[in-house]
Every structure is written in structure tokens, then in C-alpha cells.
Symmetry: C3
Subunit: 203 residues, 3 copies
């Protein structure tokens, strides 16, 4: 199950990397690298922080093939994907990455709060590094509820773990929480307040 | 003693992260993340480079609480802090981080020069990554004497270690050197020359 | 032989870092740090990803001396170097870094494709992090054939390894491939297509 989520998230992240890189007029190599970094960035930072080296994608060549395949697909059908983007459920699976990160943190015997941080890093750092490489202030710091959804999903996971519920259900419920918060936030344009919300948006 | 410095430095760095993030109009999550990254960034890079994983802040939840507490405090009292900023001695303790890094380098049997580099990384990388995430050229590369103070403190540490002086004194003197150089530099606006000092400042 | 390449590449990268940092009006410390990071960045990321810690430059002080020496040299003779830049063969040796990275990947028992990725990271990440620290979109993502040369050199290496050719020859031929592709690309201004090549260049 974790593996399926990993693959789905990898596809979604790779495609999102391609779309941002193309909008920055990068060359073919740049587009592929941004796709790759966006897809593996979160998991790589997580692995480095807990000392799980060589990092995951280096030990399983499948991820490389999946990323290259997704990137080529996204380059060929870029206009269609941009159009479908808001309706593609695929992009909402990436929040589930959080749970993969939490699992690794638990296996490394870390504090629940640290596990949630690891989960959020796994799910969001790929996008952060994508934006840094593209010379943007990471979008996640400015207007997305995405990371908050990851954190709340993680909290749900640990709260439910205390109850006498089967592990699989805990996992599924936490995953559903992540996805629902994300979808609600997108639908109703909910965002965290900026600290100075009365000033105009910087570019 | 190292632990006290670590906690004080963590508070100072977290607050500085909050102030920069607010000036960039980030949302609440962005502000907290920048606070966190600024506070743990230097120590994390140091731990990764020497292979001390899971990295320090993951093994001691105290740092997470200290950072969140400092960040909330800074958000609530941001205008007062900005006003007090230049007179707060707290901010000058962060140079002492250098000594924490040097200690770790010595424990890992590294060359003194590498230890000083590690110390400087510990004390300055948090600010560097804060500026990168905020899409700025790191301020430390442009007009601060801060890193130079760290390096000179480190050199002092190793020179005094050769003399028959008790370890604790060596440590205290090196720490005082870091702080005094920093204070003098701020007071007299001393800065390293830019290579082309006759051209106008870029923004 | 790997060691000689490492030293030559370190010199070339350090000098390139100095030139970019000066053009950004950094102070002396900033220039030295950018030189250092550009020179060791690729190898450091490679070492972190495969778990080879403390990272290479920390275990061999020679690199630090070489970088500081090269940086001071570049600062003193910056105008001459800028003039000679296009004709300096030295800068073309850095593609050979790829082979150093591939070797490390093979020693860590990784898949050939991952080894090529490691090689390309070794050869190109220093430049990427230099550009990020200088607040630029990495030049490698926009108009250089450099990384492609590294990848093709890596592919050559693995293809020839299958044939009954002595290891040394395989190495030399792959290295020549990297250098020739790079030189041809520079001479004939070959670049990978951007995905939207009909739009005007962004700054």
C-alpha cells in the first residue's frame, strides 16, 4: 500500500515539476531534472535526515523509470494536462506521502511530533525545492493549505493509534483526512492568514 | 554549557526567521517553517556532513518546543522585537554556535580547519537557508562580518588549545572573541570589502 | 588518476565560483564561500546521497588548501581569467568529475542508471548550488549542453564496460567523449531545445 502511494505520488510530483519548469522556459534537461527533483526531493531529504542511505530512489530503479515516463508524458500532453489539472484526482494523492514519511519516522523510533514533521517534509519538500530551483518563493509558504492538511492528517494518525482500531483503518482514515482537507481548501479557497493580511501581495 | 548555548541560539535564530518571513508576507505556516529552518538549518547541515543521523533536533523534542514557543512569541510581539532588535544581547549569542560545531568536529576526529568550517556552518547556515527560501542573496555573503567573527573565534579556540590553559577557559575566551568582534563590527559598521567596492550596491 | 581529476576539477570549479560571486558584488567572505561551495557541492551531495560520511573534503584537507589557493589566485587575476576563460582547457576538465561519481556509485553497488545520475550530480551540482546562492535560475537548466555531455559520457562508460576492453581505456574513452561533446557544443553553440522555443527568453 505504501508502495502504491509512493508510485502515484511520484507520478503526480513529476508531472507538476514538468509544468512549472516549462513555464520557466527551461530546456529539455532542465525540465527532466526539475521533474526528478520534485518527485524525489521530499523522500530524499527525509532519508538523509534519518540516515537511511543510499536514499530510497537509488535503491529502487523503478522510481527513475516512473519519473522519466511521467515527464515524457507530461511534455507531450502539456496543454491537455494543464486543462485537466484542477480535476485530476491524481494530484490529491500526494498528500498521502505524509503517511509514508510518518511510517519511516516510527520505524526509526522518533517522537510523534518529529514523525509528523518527517511526513510533512516528505510530502512537501519536493515542491519547495522545485520552486527554489525555479527562483520562486516556495508557493507552499504563501498560499496553500497543503502542508496544513499533511500535518492534520498526521495528528489524526497518532490520535487514532491510541484507540483500539486496526492499523489499516487508522491509515485509511488519516489518508482520507489529508485528502478531504485539501479538497475543501481548494474548493472554498481557504488559506492560512498571512501575518500582515492587509498589505498587498508581493510578487 | 553547550546545551544552554544551543537553546539560546535556537531562540535567537527562530525569532530572526519569523521577522524575515513576516517581511515577505508569508502565511502562518510559512512563518513557522522559516523559523524552524533558520533555527535548525546550521546544525542539521553539520550533522549530515559528519554523518550524525538522525540529526540532533530529531532526537531531542525540546528544540521543537523551544522553536514553536519562540516563533509564537515573535509573531505576537513582532513590532516590539523589531524595535528592541539592535539592543537585544540574545542575538549576539548565536555566534557561540560556532563552538558547538567545533566540538562536534573534534569528536569526529577532523582537521582543525575543517572543525572551524563546521563551526561556521553551524552558526551561519541557518541564516543562509532562511534567505534562500525567502528568495534573497544570503545577507551573510554581502555585508555582515558575522561569519568572519565565527572563523576568528574558531582560530582563537585552536590557538589557545595549544597552550596549558584549562578547556573551560579556552572555550570562554573563544566565545568572548566571537561576541566582541561581532559587537565591534556592528557598532563601527565594519564590513569586509566587496571585490568591486567602487561600484554601486546591487539590490 | 581519479585524484588528479578531483584536484583539477576543484580548481576549475573554485575559479568559476569566484567569477560569479564577484559579478554579484559579494564581499570577500561571500566570494570564498561561493568558491568553496561550487568546488565541493557536487561531491558533497553525492557523498550524502550514498551515505559516505564524513563527506570527502572533510577527510582530506588538501581540497581546502587547493580551493583557497585557487580562489585567491582568481581574485588577484580576475580580469585576466575572464579574458582567457573561453580558451582555458582547465574548465573542460570538470566534465570528468562525472567519472569520479560513477566510480563511487559502482563501489556502492548501485544500478548503472543511478551511477550515471550520481556522476552527473557530482559534475553539475556545484554549479547549481552556486547559482542558487547567487539567486539565479541555474544556468545548467537553461542553456548549457554540459549535463548532457556528462550523461552521454556515463552511457559510453557503461556500454564499453560490456566489451572486452581494459578498464583504463574505457575510462579514457568516456572522458574524451565528455570533453569532445562539451567542446563541440560550445563551438557550435548547440543547446537543447527549450520546450517553448518560440517564446522570448526570460531573464
Amino acid at each position: 500500500m505504501f508502495y502504491t502511494i509512493d508510485i502515484l505520488g511520484t507520478i503526480a510530483f513529476a508531472i507538476s515539476g514538468v509544468l512549472v519548469a516549462i513555464s520557466k522556459k527551461m530546456d529539455l534537461f532542465g525540465v527532466l531534472i526539475i521533474a526528478f527533483v520534485t518527485a524525489v526531493g521530499g523522500g530524499t531529504l527525509r532519508d538523509l535526515l534519518i540516515g537511511n542511505t543510499p536514499v530510497s530512489w537509488m535503491k529502487d530503479i523503478t522510481f527513475t523509470y516512473v519519473i522519466l515516463g511521467s515527464a515524457v508524458f507530461a511534455i507531450l500532453f502539456k496543454s491537455k494536462i494543464n486543462y485537466l489539472r484542477t480535476s485530476l484526482f491524481l494530484f490529491d494523492t500526494i498528500g498521502l506521502y505524509t503517511l509514508v514519511g510518518i511510517e519511516k519516522g516510527i520505524n526509526a523510533d522518533l517522537h510523534p511530533i518529529i514523525c509528523i514533521a518527517l511526513g510533512t517534509i516528505t510530502a512537501s519538500f519536493g515542491g519547495v525545492i522545485r520552486d527554489i530551483l525555479c527562483n520562486e518563493i516556495p508557493v507552499i509558504f504563501r498560499k496553500e493549505i497543503y502542508a496544513t492538511a499533511c500535518i492534520l492528517g498526521g495528528v489524526t494518525y497518532f490520535l487514532l493509534s491510541e484507540l483500539p482500531i486496526k492499523d489499516d483503518f487508522v491509515f485509511i482514515i488519516a489518508g482520507v483526512v489529508v485528502i478531504i482537507i485539501r479538497l475543501l481548501a481548494v474548493k472554498f479557497k481557504i488559506a492560512l492568514p498571512t501575518i500582515y493580511s492587509n498589505t498587498k501581495e508581493v510578487n
